[in-house]
Amino acid sequence: MNIEQIIKGIKERSPRAIARAITMVENGDVLVEDLLSSLDKEAIDSTMVFGITGPPGAGKSTLTGKIVGYCRKLGKRVGVIAVDPSSPLSGGAIHGDRIRMMEHSLDMDVVIRSMATRGRLGGLCASAGAVCRILASSGCNPIIIETVGVGQSEIDIVKIADVTALVSAPGLGDDIQALKAGLMEVADVMVVNKADKPEAQMLAVELNEIAREKGTEVILTIASEGKGVDKLYHVMEKIYLENEKKGIKQQKRIEYRKKEITDWVIEMIRSDIEKKIDSIDTDLDKDPRVVASKVASELKDVLLN
């Protein structure tokens, strides 16, 4: 497939073309800018991007699969980006999220793509942002990004989303504490999944207290049975529309755009920096911080001239 075929294929919703386009972004293909410049700006602007985050095992993939199902009932074409961490040792990853969405695999109006973080913390946001735009240009609306939310680096990914749901569930132990500590801030909606378990009520009460301060809603779902999914979808849609009306969405997107540009730039000059550092004499007497300062000020000189 050449670049023209891919660009055309995206508009024609060809699964192969979309998949190829995403790979181009992921691998930093030389022609990727041609591709990204060709995308449908209007579609990108008007596509809702939902983030689903939370600890492992909370039911995010199940929930995502069910939201997809609900959207299909509403006649919407849906895109899903499922993000999994790359192994810090090997750089590899196992993507298992699709398993819970397989019922949609033969549906040509559901595009699911797994992405690994590939050790690029900020960088992933950049790639995922571009993937969102490809999906949007192929007519997907909404787009759902599923990501494991346990630490700060994952939260960044969620910034791509216009509306983010934080999913928790009973029986996950310590993860819930971590969740409270960090992730609550990013959530526009809080979901307590596995509401078929009696302990879910307790968790909901606990979260409600925090949520009330922030003015966010807590929604109970039973993802495995599809219960509460319609409500969750409509709440997220409502938040999106309200934010759009108030200009909050646009504001967020502009901020994210800047962040994405920054990430790309850093990503793009990273190897040059590495080369530069390889070439200099990393004086063993001096503290690395001191050396870095020197290198940085040299670079700045070049940049600002």
Binding site: R16, G92, I94
Partner: protein
């Protein structure tokens, strides 16, 4: 970006077979060798596996079957890929596969077949070669 290409592969179990010990071990071994592995779980139709392979734009599809339905199911995955214009994605397989079936599978487009006792190293090497040659 673009420093080193990361290879993406899919490990699938077509049909009703539930033997996933080997498939999961292979998936992990591949991950630990730097591959991104899409694992689609047990009880999938060949068509589902083929569509997942296309959407995920994987470089190789690896199929595992230990319950004797490999003849039908492996070739159906190959056929489904072809039907969707993705016959360039190589398919390999493994599991409990009698020797005389291996030749026939190769005729039907399965590039390589591995049986019990094969070292992981050899399997990973095959995946890598197929990815590199794509």
């Amino acid at each position: 970006m673009g420093d080193k290409k990361v290879y993406r592969v899919l490990i699938g179990k077509p049909g009703l077979d539930g033997h996933d010990r080997g498939a999961k071990c292979i998936a992990r071994a591949l991950r630990d060798s730097g591959f991104e592995v899409v694992y689609t779980g047990i009880r999938r139709t060949p068509e589902e596996i083929a569509m997942a392979a296309i959407q995920e734009d994987v470089d190789v599809v690896g199929l595992s079957s230990l319950s004797g339905a490999h003849m039908e199911l492996f070739s159906e995955v190959v056929d489904a890929l072809k039907k969707h214009g993705a016959s360039d994605i190589p398919v390999i397989g493994g599991g409990i596969i009698p020797e005389e079936d291996i030749e026939e599978l190769k005729k039907r487009g399965i590039k390589k077949v591995f049986t019990p006792g094969t070292p992981m190293e050899e399997i990973i090497k095959t995946f890598r070669e197929l990815c590199e040659n794509k």
